[in-house]
């Protein structure tokens, strides 16, 4: 089966001017440094990682909003990265994005209804009366009463605003939805409402998701497959069950261990990571995780591990984990 979305060895480096110092120069920030993934139609790839790991840059790359320095994004068989603007815009109708901050994503001066039907207007689809009817129908579809269509964004609650953003993203009937921290800005009791809504909409419209979050609990809940990012690279990727049952990469293990839990048993005997991640401007030679890694050996200090596929299809970029498991498999 061909995937709906495929990223091949994506790279995006930013040039950062280091001001101030006498010998200040330009440094390269490797926000995304060789990332590949495939998402099958109707499935969800969850992307977890901490701040600065490059997950938001990856989201923009996946939609073609940022041009990669190298690599490709193939959407439904078409290379998005090399597309003329007109064709890209037509394709973009089928790829939409939902951001963390719904208020920032909405225009304060337009009513909710106007914003939801705006994409139809921009793309010149449907007559005014039909646009309005479709927008109102979709507002109901995301759980908002029709009369809220006349409100302005600041007159809604955070959860309602995120529903508006969702309705606007869905009005063009996209196939692919990138959700970048869609519930982080919401109150605890509202988060579940939005998560459930996303899953319902996925069922109803057969949507394919790239779901980006720092929250492992939510990613586990919504994803079929999960990729863990660390400083611009995917360090582990696999099915949800496999990843949580037997995480291979020491970073994944630490990430899972660090999630606060109600279960006192689980808390015992876990290993916590020491220190902060290194600056993405000064990556060490070898494995990016070595400085915080309890397992790092001499090999890790010299050679950057590749993402290798294990016997069961699980992928990991770690000399120690891969080696140990390959032996086990052999």
């Amino acid at each position: 089966m061909t995937p709906l979305v495929e990223a091949r060895d994506l790279r995006r480096h930013f040039r950062i001017r280091m001001g101030g110092a006498l010998l200040g120069g330009v440094k390269s920030l490797k926000a995304v440094d060789g990332v590949s993934f495939r998402i099958e139609r109707g499935r969800t790839l969850g992307l977890v990682g901490e701040s600065g790991c490059g997950k938001s840059t990856l989201a923009r790359l996946a939609l073609g909003m940022t041009a990669p320095d190298a690599g490709q994004v193939v959407f439904d068989g078409v290379d998005v990265t090399r597309l003329p603007t007109g064709e890209w815009r037509r394709l973009r109708r089928r790829m939409q994005m939902v951001f963390q901050d719904p208020l920032g994503a909405l225009d304060r001066r337009l009513t909710v209804l106007a914003q939801v039907e705006e994409p139809l207007r921009i793309h010149g689809l449907a007559a005014p009366a039909e646009r309005r009817e479709r927008a109102l129908g979709l507002l109901e579809g995301v759980g908002l009463q029709r009369h809220l269509g006349d409100r302005y964004p600041h007159e809604l609650s955070g959860g309602q605003r995120q529903r508006v953003v969702l309705a606007r993203a869905l009005i063009l009937e996209p196939d692919f939805l990138v959700c970048d921290e869609p519930i982080s800005a919401l109150d605890v009791s509202i988060q579940a409402q939005v998560v459930n809504l996303l899953l319902e909409l996925q069922q109803k419209f057969g949507l394919t998701f790239l779901f980006i979050s720092h929250d492992l609990k939510v990613v586990r809940h919504v994803s079929d497959e999960i990729a863990v990012m660390y400083l611009g690279r995917i360090v582990e990727q696999g099915s949800r069950e496999r990843l949580f049952a037997r995480p291979e990469h020491p970073y994944t293990r630490a990430l899972i261990a660090a999630v606060p839990t109600l279960d006192r048993e689980r808390r015992r005997g876990r290993t916590l990571l020491a220190g902060d991640p290194p600056s993405p401007l000064d990556l060490p030679k070898g494995c990016r995780f070595q400085a915080r890694c309890p397992l790092a050996g001499p090999l890790c200090r010299h050679i950057e591990p590749e993402l290798v596929t294990l016997a069961d299809g699980h992928r990991v970029a770690c000399h120690v984990a891969a080696g140990a498991t390959l032996e086990r498999a052999a």
């Binding site: 950062i16 110092a21 790991c53 938001s56 840059t57």
Partner: protein, 312 residues
């Protein structure tokens, strides 16, 4: 630091060059100096001779290149009216203007900054409203109106203070008050809003939660942060030290640079006007440089680069 300085100096140089060019072109286009200096009854031959002797008969671009060449050699030209170096005409007025402007600047800062801080600390109180009302009046009333008003009261009616001239310190009082109130009003408003912004910052709450006495929260935690935007305004005022008193000097017949500029412009005394404009530009640019340096000193975030840069 070096890179920073070089960039700043280059920009400063370009700014000055721009002012010089602009002034040169505008002055040449705005009237015939020969006619202005010699008077309308002069014979055409005399006018031509005057133009020739000052080089005014050459094309403007030639005149400009010559002027620039002279500048690089430190020659600023001759005053057409006084027949002596323009730089001398200007420099003898500088101390007279500073004698007026420095006390005025001091008054702006000593009055404006504390008033702004006080208004912020007593936000929405009667005191705050009173300070803000005065500050609006301070800069809304034109200098010449305030000047004439003060002369009428203190010089004409009461006879306490002289109305014009610069002979004694008593002559200073009225013009310094006129110049100081407007600036103090502006500074008070800026300081107030900077201070309000800082007082709402989490680190001020942290300081109070640490048990820091309120006066020290204000002095040690809030003021150094609020000073950062306020310094910009003070820097701008420093920049206009030389040229800021044209109107006030005229009202009080203060024989400073402002007066000299008015006289030179109306006489088309090109060299003198140009030297004054050059001085004004240099003053602006220097004060901007000083402000940038002060930023670095006040704000470690501009002085010391961040160790690591995060990016999502």
């Amino acid at each position: 630091m070096l890179r920073f300085l070089v960039a700043k100096l280059t920009r400063a140089f370009l700014a000055i060059l721009f002012v010089v060019t602009f002034a040169f072109v505008v002055l040449r286009l705005s009237g015939d100096p020969a006619l202005m200096i010699l008077g309308p009854e002069t014979t055409p031959e005399a006018l031509a001779a005057f133009r020739k002797s000052w080089g005014l008969d050459a094309p403007v671009w030639q005149q400009f290149l010559g002027y620039l060449g002279n500048l690089t050699e430190g020659r600023f030209g001759q005053s057409m009216r006084d027949a002596r170096p323009a730089i001398d005409v200007v420099m003898e007025r500088v101390p007279i203007t500073l004698w007026l402007m420095l006390p005025a600047l001091a008054l702006k800062i000593l009055l404006g900054v504390p008033a702004g801080v006080l208004a912020a600390l007593k936000r929405n109180s009667t005191l705050d409203r009173a300070i803000m009302t005065f500050s609006v009046m301070g800069y809304a009333v034109p200098n010449f109106v305030l000047g004439i008003f003060l002369i009428l009261i203190f010089a004409v009616q009461l006879g306490w203070l002289p109305s014009s001239g610069s002979a004694t310190w008593a002559h200073l009082i009225l013009p310094v008050i006129v110049l100081g109130t407007a600036g103090a009003g502006i500074l008070a408003r800026f300081t107030r809003s900077a201070m309000l912004e800082v007082l709402g910052q989490p680190y001020v709450r942290t300081a109070v939660a640490k048990g820091v006495p309120w006066w020290r929260v204000v002095n040690w935690h809030a003021l150094p942060n609020a000073a950062i935007p306020t310094v910009t305004v003070i820097g701008f005022m420093m920049g206009s030290l030389i040229a800021g008193a044209v109107v006030t000097e005229s009202v009080f017949a203060w024989p400073g640079l402002g007066r000299a500029l008015v006289v030179a412009v109306s006489n088309r005394d090109l060299a003198v006007v140009q030297v004054i404009l050059l001085l004004v530009a240099a003053c602006m640019v220097t004060s901007n440089l000083i402000v940038d340096m002060l930023y670095g000193w006040l704000d470690p975030r501009t002085r010391i680069p961040k160790a690591g840069v995060g990016g999502g």
